[in-house]
């Protein structure tokens, strides 16, 4: 499975945040949340632009005409219509005889992307799937929202999945609970509450910005993820001893460490690193995978357990063999 990622050039550091917000400590952000800096898309740089860069890197050296399906996971599309994946097809110079689809998911997006890719390939609909994840949550944040501006970073990842990769993607466990919809939401701009007539710019009007109910999200995570973790092992007939490495969606260091202890995963098998990226939503897992493969933390043939969870609420898990 070939993976590449792209991070935008602008960097917002904890020191920058400390200067902007009274009583917000850079040391505390790094110590508790585990983030020192996060990359932010430029004003004129969209999720699609970033996905294009990641996809170009992942297709380098390959015959891009072999790609016969694009899955683009984003909650920051260029337009309501047309589909951003269609635009990607054109910008990448891919064949017009391919499928292209946007997926509106956040932190569970990469897992769902793998599930969709596996399904498309096993059903014979596709043979080589380009899965892109890309997000610019920074553009949804209010300028005074120090908490979320500390947490979220922008970024994109691209993965090529073929028949050979699919033979090494195990069973999935997916879940959804729409009762959590209000706990991580951009309430204005869609069909439910249109933005027309409201003042610009978006980031000065809190009612139009991203809202996250941190305590409820944390509650959801600590009640859902341990059960998901147990189920995915059971579904695949595996125990933690059979797993070489575990990558949960990289939300924040404190939450991840709490989950690790709660389900008893050995520290050396558990990924917990968003120091230089922040929470890049659907890209946290592929970025972690790429980093771990590049540094040799995970090696060919190893079994990696992946768990994504968040906005929706939506969650999913699977096991892959690298």
């Amino acid at each position: 499975m070939k993976i590449e990622y792209y991070l935008p050039a602008n960097i917002l550091t904890n020191a920058d945040l400390e200067k902007q917000y009274e009583n917000w400590s850079a040391a505390k952000i790094e110590d508790k949340i585990g983030i020192r800096e996060r990359h932010l898309a430029a004003n004129d740089e969209t999720a699609l632009d970033m996905a294009l860069k990641a996809a170009t890197m992942v297709l380098d050296g390959s015959d891009r005409q072999l790609v016969d399906f694009i899955l683009f996971c984003t909650q920051s599309p260029d337009y309501y219509l047309p589909t951003s994946a269609c635009i990607l097809q054109d910008k990448l110079g891919l064949s017009t005889h391919i499928g292209a689809l946007d997926m509106n998911l956040g932190c569970s997006g990469f897992i769902y992307g793998l599930a969709m890719a596996k399904s498309l390939i096993l059903s014979g609909v596709a043979s080589n799937v380009l899965l892109c994840t890309a997000e610019t949550y920074s553009k949804y944040l209010h300028q005074n929202d120090h908490a979320n501006r500390s947490i979220f970073g922008d970024g994109a990842a691209a993965v090529i999945i073929d028949k050979d990769d699919v033979s090494r993607i195990y069973e999935f466990d997916l879940g959804t609970d729409g009762r959590g919809m209000g706990n991580l939401i951009v309430p204005v701009g869609g069909a439910r509450r249109r933005a027309g007539g409201l003042k610009e710019p978006l980031q000065e009007d809190p009612s139009r910005c991203l809202f996250m109910n941190g305590p409820e999200i944390f509650n959801f995570t600590i009640s859902t993820v341990p059960l998901l973790y147990s189920r995915i092992l059971q579904k695949n007939g595996l125990k933690i001893d059979d797993i070489d490495y575990v990558i949960f969606h990289q939300a924040n260091k404190y939450m991840l460490e709490y989950l690790r202890r709660k389900v008893n995963i050995p520290k050396e098998k558990f990924h917990n690193d968003i120091l230089h990226y922040g929470n890049t939503v659907s890209s946290t897992i592929p970025i972690a995978l790429k980093d771990c493969m590049s540094t040799g933390i995970i090696k060919k043939g190893q079994k990696i357990l992946l768990v994504g969870f968040g906005v929706g609420y939506s969650w999913g898990a699977t096991v892959i063999e690298i």
């Binding site: 009583n23 505390k28 508790k32 949340i33 908490a147 706990n183 109910n213 941190g214 305590p215 409820e216 944390f218 509650n219 600590i222 009640s223 404190y254 939450m255 709490y258 709660k262």
Partner: protein, 75 residues
């Protein structure tokens, strides 16, 4: 977990070294009781008291005693 263990544990997670934390302490008036502290409180109650409090229940908490009442299995 008894009352003094609860208060001791709470003091640790809130990282308020110079505060004399007791049942009457108004948590909302503490500078250290921020969004990160609330996350720690949720984890503390989950791990030590088996309690999963909603955001609404937590936002109704003012004093340490309010928190202890919500975690009533820790009496």
């Amino acid at each position: 977990m008894n009352k003094s263990e609860f208060i001791r544990g709470l003091k640790d997670i809130l990282e308020c070294e110079d505060i004399d934390l007791n049942e009457e302490t108004n948590l909302k008036e503490l500078a250290c009781y921020d969004s990160l502290a609330v996350m720690s409180v949720i984890a503390f109650l989950d791990e030590h008291c088996g309690k999963n409090l909603s955001a609404a229940q937590l936002s109704a908490v003012t004093t340490v005693r309010d928190l202890m009442n919500l975690a009533d299995i820790c009496r």
